[in-house]
Amino acid sequence: MSKTVEEINRKIRTGKAVVLTAEEFKKLGNYESAASLAAKVDVVTTATFGPMCSSGAFINFGHASPGIRMEKILLNGVPAYGGIAAVDAYIGATETAHPADVYGGAHVIEDLVSGREVRLQASGKGTDCYPATEADVTLSLNDVNEAYLFNPRNAYQNYGAATNSENEKKYTYMGVLLPKFGNINYSTSGELSPLLNDPWLRFTGIGTRIFLCGATGYVAWSGTQCHLNRHRNARGIPLHPAATLAVTGNLKEMSPEFIRAAYFEKYGVSLFVGIGIPYPVLDADAAHDLLIRNRDIETEVHDYGKADHPWLATVNYEQLLSGEIELYGKKTRTAPLSSISKARQIAELLKKNISEGNFTLTEKIQDLPGSDSLNGLSTKKGARQ
């Protein structure tokens, strides 16, 4: 017997839907079959909270009088992209004024979401229709017109773990990697992670309504580098970084609890993004996919000590979460960059919102238009001539 999303939404609206977090659902899987769980449970909430560099926000500042065509834009000294209409800008999370700065676009976004004022400095050449050439004001999120997060690549479906074979520490976007395989760092929320609970993207697609940093957001498109044809294990889990999401949501509705600026030493600025996706338990197949456990999720350990990050080992998330893994006969400490406790908080909040009838599910409008392969970039001189 199967349900429809509309039937589940009717139950949500009348407060009768049975909603569980992914962890609660998986625990029940120890005692009950997928078919039995599909009959009893309507919605399962998944979540992740990790550093996602490919993030940023569009902001419309409103027109001054006389108007200015903003061509160069700084927010708290951080350059924002102004190569769009006169008072529109995009502030990228990783942008900084100078390469070594520890304050960047992500911090500007966190400041705005936290209600703090930000200094806007803009300049333009002056035109007949926009004669002003300079603007220098402070403003808050309440002062601007639209402000929405638009993250080109979030919520990776699986990601490789990182270690370092070299004699020196490596400072990476995967954190600090100690010399001589001193640690292994990983970055997904494992069995709580959204796209690992929907391995075939049956329910995640364009138009999917999600929790985004405390606000209601949407999947806008596939994320960049979205690879839909990775090798999978027997449980259907891609063994390599696979699907990704481009997501969007209203910055004005977000909470600093679920969006945080980050700085990775000697690497740069990034943004912790909190994403939650609810999945409908339409049938036994959906329940089966939602019952994946950390032991079912395999990923590869790569050596970031070498320039091309070669493969070293394949491990599963139960091993990674245990705190140590044996690598080359030596016990190696493992550590995450993605917060499981925050992901749990998001999954619980989403469960509460759905249970109280404040968040209904969507059917995807279209499959993610991902790719079956990924192009590299040849930097050899003349390679593309």
Partner: protein, 136 residues
């Protein structure tokens, strides 16, 4: 018992062989984790002292009597737990295991008794919430 301290040496105390006195005069076993001693500069020494409680008390009193400041390690480590997101990045570099994520709750736990003030966590924390300072 074991206790961990940070000794701060004003410039005029650099020449005093404090460690030697603690070992020979007070019978203490010492283990140095972190040291910065240079002539003409203020120095610091992070160490664990092991021995009977009375001997440790007497030894620390001697150190202080020589003008060297001796404070427990926890006075020098600050973790901004209110803003911590419990990502675990700091646990990746904590050799002695003072910073760990709880096995069930996955919340960050700090056990100062295992801290060696190596300072690696201060660079690993993406939110820059960990401060280790040898200057009061």
């Amino acid at each position: 018992m074991k206790q961990r301290f940070v000794f701060r040496f004003p410039t005029d105390t650099i020449g005093i062989p404090v460690s030697w006195h603690l070992i020979i005069d007070y019978g203490l076993k010492i283990n140095i984790f972190n040291a910065y001693i240079n002539a003409g500069e203020e120095g610091n020494l992070a160490l664990e002292v092991e021995g009977p409680k009375s001997a440790i008390g007497a030894g620390i009193q001697f150190v202080r009597s020589k003008g060297v400041l001796a404070e427990p390690i926890e006075k020098h480590v600050q973790i901004g737990m209110k803003r911590c997101v419990h990502c675990g990045a700091c646990t990746a570099v904590c050799y002695p295991g003072a910073l760990r994520l709880h096995g069930e709750t996955r919340l960050l736990q700090f056990n100062v008794d295992q801290c060696t003030v190596c300072e690696l966590c201060t660079t690993a924390c993406p939110l820059k919430l960990i401060k280790i300072s040898f200057v009061e």
